[in-house]
């Protein structure tokens, strides 16, 4: 049942992802191919293609985010809930479906974003810097990617959990939903910064993140942020897990449809 629901959910959420993602990659490739044009018209074409590729990739992420949140509310609270919530499955299956669908959709978005950015900017000096980073700071890059993945997962689960908890309140349900979402998401950022601050007081090497300046060489900045990326990757992963169980438990307790 989970697989069937996941397939339906994933296809609905990503209905337009192929257009945005494919468009962004084609535009990125076209921009790359026009890099060496030196005429005024050539430069205008290159810059226009670059802007369009960036717009398409932003559109991709925004569209997938919006469709994930809309589908979550439609199928668990609004009209379509009358169908979905009367299917013979446990509430936890609905929760897992939306969580997994969001996670995989965002992973695909991340790959698309990185692909487009690589097409647009991975050349010359940037490529040399990346090569050096890959040789000397692989773990930093891994934790940076984990931070990105779980930070977005935190965003998704903040909205999902807030939708359920807000709906479970007796009055001002929409206001409560908004407040829960802000508290969950901003709470994560404040907690992480607080943790980083406490750790920087305890461990001098950790304090480097607060000492990085714009005139420092890029690789030194990355080195200063190494510990922070490890902390943030682990923090967002744990925070996402906590939100996952909070939302799942709330949905299992029950929530009224509109």
């Amino acid at each position: 049942m989970l697989t069937k629901l996941l397939k339906l959910n994933f296809l609905w959420v990503n209905k337009f992802a192929l257009y945005f993602g494919g468009g962004a990659l084609i535009l990125g490739l076209a921009s790359r191919l026009t890099t060496d044009l030196t005429s005024v018209v050539g430069i205008i074409i290159h810059n226009t293609l670059q802007s369009l590729a960036i717009s398409a990739v932003i559109g991709l992420v925004a569209n997938v985010l919006a469709r994930s949140f809309v589908h979550f509310k439609n199928t668990l609270i609004r009209d379509e809930a009358y169908l979905h919530r009367t299917l013979p499955v446990e509430p936890s299956v609905h929760w897992n479906t939306h969580t997994l669908s969001f996670f995989f959709s965002m992973l695909i978005c991340l790959v698309a974003v990185l692909g487009v950015l690589a097409l647009l900017f991975l050349k010359g000096e940037v490529w040399e810097t990346i090569k050096t980073l890959l040789e000397s700071h692989v773990s930093t890059i891994v934790f940076l990617l984990l931070t990105l993945i779980f930070e977005v997962t935190t965003l998704g689960l903040s909205v999902f959990s807030a939708t359920i908890l807000g709906r479970r309140t007796h009055k001002h349900r929409n206001l409560a939903t908004g407040l829960y979402a802000i508290v969950f998401y901003l709470g994560a950022q404040i907690l992480l910064l607080g943790l980083a601050f406490i750790l920087s007081q305890l461990f001098p090497s950790f304090a480097n993140i607060f000492n990085a300046t714009s005139d420092m060489p890029f690789l030194d900045v990355v080195k200063n942020f190494q510990n922070f990326f490890i902390l943030s990757g682990i923090f967002y992963a744990l925070y996402s897990i906590a939100l996952y169980f909070l939302g799942k438990r709330s949905l299992e307790k029950g929530v009224d449809v509109e």
Partner: protein, 238 residues
């Protein structure tokens, strides 16, 4: 109207209460539905009929009370056996009829796709048609066909006759009567008693969230020497 019946209840509702914003919508509801009968859940608008039905379908969480289906708490097994038609369009309008047939086929083991397709063809509906291209009436008929094509133990139909023309009413009533599975029960909520009276075995009157009268339709007609519609009008006179 009666089909196969036995005495153990299909659905038991006991001491059910629900309030919204301090207003009591369901007030100590006690109810028992037996197999093989057609029940009419009758009451004015706002009496609590839809809330009761949504609670039975776990779409609304009661403040207190208990609901058992075949002596077991509500859950996936009861959902597999209850076919529910809400009072609104609950299908994704961006999808096609085929998509919804596939959805019902894959989630409900008791869904008879062949029967559904036959009924759709009788309405000249093409499986590849998108729901948003269909009229509201046709969307409602499609929902009814999907629900009645399941071999369920209990069919719960919330206001199936609301806002439809007399010809559609006949189609809806015929579809219900000719398609509900042998030995199963039907719970129909409505305030349009005269249209439905002829098919009811049992009636449940709901007023201000309370059950005010229950009993066999024949017995009530005989006792009061009036039609159920007349009894309803007298009971709920403004």
């Amino acid at each position: 109207m009666k089909k196969k019946s036995n005495s153990s209840p299909l659905l038991e509702v006991s001491h059910l209460e629900k309030s919204f914003s301090d207003k009591l919508i369901l007030d100590d509801i006690n109810l028992e539905l037996k197999p093989g009968k057609i029940y009419g859940l009758l009451g004015k608008n706002g009496a609590g009929k839809s809330t009761l039905i949504k609670t039975i379908n776990t779409l609304i969480i009661p403040d207190s009370g208990k609901i058992l289906f075949k002596n077991r708490p509500l859950g996936p097994s009861s959902k597999a056996e209850i076919a529910y038609l809400p009072e609104r369009t609950y299908l994704d309008l961006s999808t096609t009829i085929k998509y919804n047939l596939d959805l019902f086929s894959s989630f409900y083991k008791n869904f008879d796709r062949k029967k559904a397709v036959e009924m759709l063809h009788s309405l000249d509906l093409d499986e590849n048609m998108k729901l948003k291209k269909m009229s509201k009436g046709m969307q409602e008929k499609l929902q009814l066909i999907l629900v009645m094509s399941r071999k369920a133990s209990l069919y719960i139909l919330d206001e199936p006759l609301g806002g439809v023309d007399p010809a559609t009413r006949d189609f809806i009533l015929d579809t219900i009567l000719t398609n509900f599975a042998d030995g199963s029960s039907v719970l129909i909520s409505t305030h349009l008693i005269s249209d439905i009276e002829r098919i009811l075995d049992e009636v449940i009157f709901l007023n201000h969230g309370k059950i005010t009268l229950t009993g066999s339709a024949d017995y009530l007609r005989e006792k009061h020497q009036k039609s159920i519609d007349q009894i309803f009008r007298e009971t709920f006179k403004c």
